[in-house]
Each structure stands twice: as C-alpha cells, then as structure tokens.
Symmetry: C2
Subunit: 361 residues, 2 copies
DNA sequence: TCTGGCACTCGATTCTACCGAGTGCCAAGG
DNA sequence: CCTTGGCACTCGGTAGAATCGAGTGCCAGA
C-alpha cells in the first residue's frame, strides 16, 4: 500500500465531511452536501473532481453510478487515524460512568456483567467485556467440598475477588474427613501463589489424601487456562437496531455466541496495537460489516482484559473510543483497587513496577 | 369465551391442515391446498365455507381479502391443545440429548449454560434455562475470605453444586484471624441447613467476630433471594432467523436482556399450568409475535426451575414441546443425582416424598 | 486552477396492466 | 340439507413504462 500516508489537506477535509455526514445519515453523500459542510469553501464541481481521486485511491466508493459516495474501510481508517479529534464523553455520560463505579459494589462477576451493560448504554452499541486472565493474580483461598460420593468441587477465591470453581471426579469414594485434610493442605500451599504455580511439596502420610491433592493441583492449573473464556456481552439487541439486513444481524449474533472467537478477536486487535478494527481488517468474515473498538483493561500496567464495542462500520468512532477507553481504565482501576487493598501479600505490585498503559496516537 | 370447546371434526381437520401447512411454508394457505392435504376428502368449495366459519369463530384470519388463511393465536392454541399429537424427538436428537447428559461433567453453571445451548441446537429456537431456586437446597460449605481491608467475600457451596458468592462491606478493618474464626462458626452453623435458615446460636467471646457473623448471616439470607435471577439464554441468533422484521428481532432481544422479565414470564406461564403461551396469551407486549414453550425442571418432585423455548408463533409445537420436556426432565434428574449422591445428610429426600411431575395434556 | 453549466445516469417512485391464487356466492345434484 | 362445480370478483405481486431527481462527468470560460 503506497498511499497510506497523508492526503491533500483539502481531500482530507472532504473525506472527513463525507464520513461524518454518512455516519449521521447512513445515506450516500453527494458533492453538494459536502460543499455545504463547514470548513469547505469550494464549489461542488471541485469537490466532485476531488472525489473521483479519492475514489481512485480507495477511500470512497459509489454504491452505483450517480449516487453519492460512501466511505470504504480504508476511508474510515484514515478518518480514525488522522482526522477525528479525540472525542470526549458528554457530561451526562461522564456522570453515568463515575456514578456507576462509585455505586457498584460487590463481586467480580456481577461487576463485569454490569460493566458491559454500562458500555452498551453509553454508546448504544453492543459491548463485550473480557476479564483479565488470572495469570498473575494470587490465590486467597482454596477449598475442596464433597458433592457426590465421588465428586468434589474445588473452589478457589482469587485476590481480585473472582471465584473459580471446578468439579473433580474422584477415582474412588473419599470420606469427608480425607477431603478436609486435603483441602487444608491445598489451602496452605496455594495461599499467596498464582493459580498455575501451586505445588504441595511433601507428601502426607495418607496415600488417599495425596491422590486427591494431586488431582486438585492439576485442576487448579486447568482453571488458570479455562478461566478467561467467560465473556460478558451487553446489549446484543443494539445490533438489530444498527443493521437493517436481518442476515447480517444473524451472522453477527451467531459470532457473538462463540465466546472463544470473540476473545481471540479482541486479543488479536489489541496485539496489533490497534484500538479500532474496521470491516475486514480483522480477518473475521461474518463480522465484515462491523467495526470493533477495543480498549485494554490493565491492572498495574499489565494488560489483562479488554472491553470492546461492536457496531456498524459507520459507527461514531470518537465517542465509542472515548467510552471504551474510559470504561476500560476505570474497570482496571477498580480491579486494582480490590487487589491493592488486600490486607496481606501483594506480590504483583512488588514484582512488576507500575507502568503507564502505553497510549497510542 | 363461549366457544372454547370442541370443533366440528371436519373443521378441526381443516384447521389442523392450515396450521401444519402454515408452519411449514410461512405462506397463507388457501382452500385448494387444504383440499389436497391427507385426510380431507371434500372439495375446496366446501372447505371455503368451513373456513369462513373458522374465521368468524376466530381461529383463522385473512391477511387481506382474497389471500389464504393464517392461524390466529386461538387457532394455534386449539391446535396445540386438541390436535397435535404428542410429538417425539427423532433418533438423532434423542441420541444428542442422552450423549449430552452422559458427557457433561462438572459444575452447575457450566451445566446450565451448555444445556441452553443444547436446547436451542435441538430446536433451532432461542432457549432459556432458569435454574431451580435454592430454597430447599442445603449448604455444604460456607467460607469468608478477606479481599480488601474492609471487604470480605462470602462463598457458599450448596449441595447441588452451585456456588453462590457475595461481597460484604465490613464496618471496620477486620484482621484475617477474626475472619477465620467467624468463617468457622458460620460453617458449623450452616452446614446441612438451607440458605435462608442459617443461624448462629450463641455469641462467641469476641464482639468483632459476632458482628462479622451477623453480617454474613443476613448476606446468606440475601443470597437465597438473589440467586435465581441469573438465567442462561441460548442461541439468540436463532431469533434473527425466525423473524424477518428487524424491529421484531430487536424487541424480542431487548426483552431477553431483561432477565427478571424472562424469569417471571416463564414462572407465570408455568403457574397457570400451561406449557405453551402463544402470542398475546402471556401479557408481554414486545413478545406478542412469539410463542413460548416451557417445561418445568423438577428436582425431587419440587418444581424449581424451568427451561423454555422462544420462537415465532408458527413454531413447531410438538417438536419444541418434546425437546423442552425431555431436556427439562433430564436436567432435573441430573440435578437430583448430584443432590442424592451426597455422602451425608439428604434432608430434602426425607421431608418430601418423590412424586411424579404432573404432566399436562 | 476553479467554477458554473449541461447532458447524462440510474435508483427510486409511481402508474398501469395483468396474472393468478384465492375468495364468495349460487344453482344444480346427491 | 349438505356438497359440489362453476363463475364472477378481489386484490396482492410482478413486470414494464414513465417520471423524478439527486448526483455524476465533462467542458469551456474566468
């Protein structure tokens, strides 16, 4: 792509006018409308000739001859990267956010669920919240609870307030007392360590206890991997409002149902250092009519989770970006607050110096 | 409504033909098509005159003069109550179900989530799973874990494998040791009792401990009430496929987002002794284009939860009913299995004799 | 280089005609 | 009395023609 650099300032202004107009009206915009836009002081004829250039360079397309122009993905990209000013939340929205994070109480899962609701309320797009993985988060408590004769539930409470659980099939019938012993040993070994690195050193006298402990140990390891595939989707009904083709709606909804896909989508986008992926930029076919806005959720400088917005490519990028950033930041702060206030060990803080989340653009 | 009783057998046959045809094709069906249907041996003229009668009585409507007929809600109702034969799952579907319940492992939340997926897979409608409330389920374990300096997390494991949790704001800074003592006292008092009726009898020597314990006690009571408002929605994208008006899709999706509404909808329907609510029969305006199929999930004869299907009024009722019933039953069995296999107390079984879930129609 | 003018395109809208599925009615036949 | 074939009629949907208008590309003149 040779022409990713700048555009003629006038072309840029025209492109900007087209994008903003189209975002507002969803109608192809013609040279006449552009000429009326603020900051443009040339006639429609001039604009027309600039538009053919813009079209040749791939920033605009005509749905059909003799219709107005519509931005391409590339056009939106240029707009987002070079033209749009940062965008701020309105006072009402800002108020909503701060009140939300003041009022919200309680427990992690609920917090995430409600955060996704907040985001989609603010923007009227569908939202996704991917919680940070628990890689570095230490265990606060582990417990084994007998459920059936040969089933036990492993419950781990992490320092960030998350509760992870997993059923364990026992190879034989284990009396409650043995479970209790195993539970105690696990608790002693796990407290203060991250999920993945729990290891009970020396064997107890009891072989049954040891068997249970080792099962639970590997289950803890599994938890670390599995935990972060639960995502929180907010306001899917907004999608139906955003698209008028019912097929598109179905395809997008179906994609949203596949949590793994969504998680890796957001992760991909973040890893490429982007905060916006437009149309086909992320390689996910069924979402080619969508734009995705992502903001990291970083806890102590470590990017763990993400919040995202999903809307039509003609979305209000500045506003969506602002909302995602603010909510992502606040959520991160909130999560860190829980972590930091811990009465005892806070190894994450010690091992990793605080670092500002690297902003982009 | 005077005319809820039976219909002329011939009228009934015609109505049945119209309904089945319309369910299949989504096109208004004319007298000619009906005449060709199996079991009808009269001419189209006769059918026409019967149809005017059916229309006068409210079972059919014409979208416009000189189009075929479409069933009304009342028409579907009659079909479901009097005409449709029970309906069975195909062998492939039956296989899917049984394999699912054999394979599914682990923990309650995941079980419910995946069950909703199963249901919507079987039927290609959107599904809802409302877990049984924990009224009668006894506590297997309770634990207090300190999170922040003045925040503790109350984690309760119930006999059915559910894990309920709630953050508690502490009025003062409580050292871990005090929490541990309180946790132990709670555990002793709660184990084997249902969530609502946990009471720690005699005070300890320590006032701080007692304060924490009483806070936790009331939190346990809250948990009982709150717990059942988390529902599991499967396959919302199916809705986009079922309706072609994008407005309808949006309205229905928006309703599905309000968990409380959905829960009370299903509850209402079940309480009225129905398993199907068609169109406006449930008073929920935005869902007037939908039919809801509900089946109870009963554990030990106690109806606690429900599974539901949400589709267009022209849904395949026999199949949907069969799927919902089977999955509801299996889910109930599954939940009871966890309960029954408990190594120690099983008070529910003792106090309530097993009773067959009363079938209807 | 910009601009106003102009011919041209082509989707959207409207109108007409027409087809055909479907109806209601009726008179004849069981 | 019920059924049936016949018949005129309705009216949505489709196809084609006419029209409208927003928008374009091009060009000559400032």
């Amino acid at each position: 792509m040779p022409d990713i650099q700048d555009l003629d300032p006038r072309k840029a202004a025209i492109l900007e006018a087209v994008v903003t107009e189209y975002i507002g009206t969803a109608q192809p915009v013609g040279s006449h409308h552009v000429a009326e836009a603020a900051g443009i002081n040339v006639s429609s004829a001039t604009i027309r000739s600039e538009m053919v250039a813009l079209e040749r360079e791939g920033y605009l397309v005509q749905p059909h001859t003799s219709a107005g122009r519509v931005p391409t993905d590339k056009g939106y990209r240029f707009f987002v990267d070079q033209l749009a000013e940062p965008g701020v939340l309105g006072p009402a929205q800002r108020h909503k956010v701060s009140r939300f994070f003041e009022q919200v109480h309680g427990e992690m899962e609920e917090l995430l669920e409600r955060t996704s609701g907040l985001l989609s309320d603010l923007t009227s797009y569908a939202s996704v919240v991917v919680p940070p993985s628990h890689d570095a988060v230490v265990v606060r408590s582990v417990q084994l609870v007998g459920l059936g004769a040969r089933v036990a539930l492993l419950v781990a409470v992490l320092a960030d307030g998350a509760v992870e659980k997993r059923a364990i099939e026992l190879p034989e019938e284990i009396p409650d007392e043995v479970l209790a012993v195993a539970s105690g040993r696990l608790q002693a070994a796990a407290q203060g360590h991250p999920l993945g690195s729990v290891h009970v050193a020396d064997p107890s006298g009891d072989a049954a206890v040891d068997r249970v402990v080792s099962l639970a140990e590997s289950a803890l390891g599994d938890l670390e991997c599995e935990a972060h595939d639960r995502i929180f989707v907010g306001g899917p009904s907004r999608l139906a409002a955003a698209f008028d083709a019912v097929d598109t709606v179905r395809a997008v909804l179906a994609t949203l149902e596949q949590q793994l896909v969504v998680v890796s989508l957001l992760r991909d986008v973040l890893e490429r250092g982007l905060s916006v992926a437009i149309g086909t930029e992320h390689g996910y076919e069924p979402l080619s009519a969508c734009a995705v806005v992502v903001a990291p959720v970083s806890v102590d400088g470590q990017v763990g989770g993400a919040v995202g917005l999903l809307g039509p490519t003609r979305m209000n990028y500045p506003q969506a970006l602002a909302a995602a950033r603010v909510v992502g930041e606040q959520l991160g702060d909130r999560l860190r607050a829980t972590l930091d206030a811990g009465p005892s060990a806070r190894p994450v803080r010690e091992t990793r110096p605080r670092r500002r989340a690297r902003g982009r653009r």
